[in-house]
Amino acid sequence: MKKNCRYLFGLLGFSLALAGHPAWALTVGQKLSAEEIAQWGELPAYDIGGSQIRVLPSQQPGSEATLLLNAQGVVGSSRNEVSISDAPAERVRELVQRTLPRPLSVQHYEPTGITVLRYADFGQAVEGLNALKAALPGAKVRLPVQFGKRVPY
């Protein structure tokens, strides 16, 4: 539901500055300053199709998601997955058997013809992306990352 911000502007005081972000409070879509990012020191970095992506230290042990930073310092989230469309599922399955690294799981969404491979970590997902792109030139092979949080309108 859309809130009338005109009311909020009238009711609430103009206060607070953006506070520092402790590591455990990171959320998708949040933009971090250079100073905040510097607290982590050097981060593992990847160039994925021209996008510079850095991997943040794990925030929650056991989490399936990897938190990332794009070049603008915006926090994103990956499930260490590679998605493939425009390729027959059997061809993808066969390819996965002889391509390294091996994914932890393969899920094929039959009605929409999309296959999703889940890897052990982000680095393996990047390796998997590169290997599958090379092996499936006609397919759409992507490494999905969410940089914005969907909200109700």
């Binding site: 009338n4 879509g29 070049a71 969404y109 992507r142 969410q146 109700p152």
Partner: protein, 665 residues
Amino acid sequence: MNKKLRYCLLPLIASTLAACGDGGGSVGGGQPTPQTACAETGDYACRTGETEPLYTFQWALNYAASYFNAFPETFGGGLDLNVEPVHRQGIKGQGVNVLVLDSGTDLRNEDLLPNADFDMSWNFLTQQNDPYPSLVKPDDAPHGTAVAGMIAAAQNGKGVMGIAPQAKIGGANFLDASAEVFASYGGAPWSSKAHVFNASYGADRSTAPYESDVGNEETIAGRGLKKLRDGKGAVFIKAAGNSFEPGLCGRGPAYFDCTNPANDVLVLESNIITVAALNAQGRASSYSSAGSVVWVTGMGGEFGGSGNYGEGGADNDGPTIFSTDLRGCIHGYSRGNAGTPYLRGQTERNGKPDNPDCDYAYMNGTSAATPTISGVAALILSANPALTWRDMRDILRASARKVDADYIHGSPYGGTMRYGALQDLSTNQPTDKMGSPADIRDGAQAFPMDLGWQKNAAGYEYSNWYGFGVPDAEKAVALALEYGKNPKLSRSGDVQIPDFSDFAYLQRDDLDDPDPDLENVHVRIGPFPYQRVTSLGTFKSGAQTVDQLQVRLSGENVCLGSLGIAAKSPAGTVSLLKLPNDHFKAYGVNQFTDYALGSFAFYGEPAQGDWEIFAIASNPDTQIEVAEIINNVLVVRPSDPCPSTDGNGQPLNFHLIVETRLIAQ
């Protein structure tokens, strides 16, 4: 049949036809309905929502007879979706499955349960098929229940009536499991049942890479929707957003949308129908996001912040869209501490309480406008289930009515300039001079903030605020039936989506070496051309028909919040794809990769000829005061700097890559 019997039947036939084929229709829309036989049986056969006790508040279904007519300060000059002639034909969404991807849905509400399909539903938190929402976020929890009721609340003598009151409705709490895109967008057995998806949500704040190795999964998932319905494609209706408001673009009155709907890359897919919102006065809802990816407009209302039923006129407000709510007075929009008597369950008419159990509420937003169009889509598919996703898009467009014809001469609440005025590119302030497409030219130092309604070379009128306008359900269903009689009208093939092509390259310093990749690219060397409109060059297209133009940008040390993009087609139609001084200025964004924009303003035009692309660059060195709500607290701060010069006053080095592609029909 003997003569005597024929005479006896005449009164019965006459009364049946009267019930089914009344002229009715919307204010400002539609011809009288031809009298046709009723295709429906039962107590409510071919009857409109007049059978439902709260129908008088549902101005999107019957504007002329609405309760709100008694409040001219906030109601008048508007229109409805002209659904009553369709309902009188007995077309009410039968056979159509609509899936609400949202916060979850209380499918056991008395007005939803008759149409609920739990096999088309999923709860990602419980892993069960009852999508009742999580109550952790009380303001979001009822959202999906309100959306569902607008589409398919039953006609049962209770509460409200959905636009497609016999459509089957399912729900999923997708917003609690945003990573589950592939399952939710038709990949799972439950979601693959859906014929129409309603997406009253979005993410329009970031520069998500588009068609990139790394990026938003919705691009692939969105295209997968075309395989559903045995290859005819599911219909996906998506909200444009609610960012036409002061805040991230400064605290003054809003003259243009602060965040571009195209920032949510899903809407760049041609099979996604993006919906803006109209209020009860026939104008854009004050918050409704505008942009060249909007396809049509539905009914969203204003805020309903005062009066008994949200009719109060304080602060330029007005009524919203009535619907179902989470059951009971503890949770939901209707609850004991809500803002109006109706939402507190305290109103009554004719001695009867309207909402005694708080099972009904009202809601605004493009979130509300979207299900009004999903409901119309369900009526259209009910009339002709053979339609493809492309047919649906064409029918909605062809049935749409131009509204608010002169809006660019209006002004925002509290503002003195006009929406279509020129904005000075050095001061970043609107002026008192009106603009026009002719102001988009190389060397101009001001640009029009909006171009209003423009007729393109295909004869279609388009506006960044309204898309092609407000669909007329009666006309749309008539078109659907016409497609049924003449299947040659239907378009089953996909649109043609080529790869992006390099178009222009800009940087400050001379190129070190000749770059073969730039041979066919417009290269511009020198300081970034801020504070002016710059033609970036032209590209040629072949003999095709336009579906959508897309432009993709990658840059470093370029102030994205000070950069707008416009395009001119070979036929001379101009479209504003992105305005400068948008919310990216608030964050000082100066680095972006594969950030994409789209425009449907050229839809149906011949593509052949020269297309010209313009940069509209404002002054990045001015600061604005930004207001944003963080954790329910209003934060006011200066915009983050994005300087155009270095510490010595020299223009910064930079690079900007511009790519284009034409998606053809």
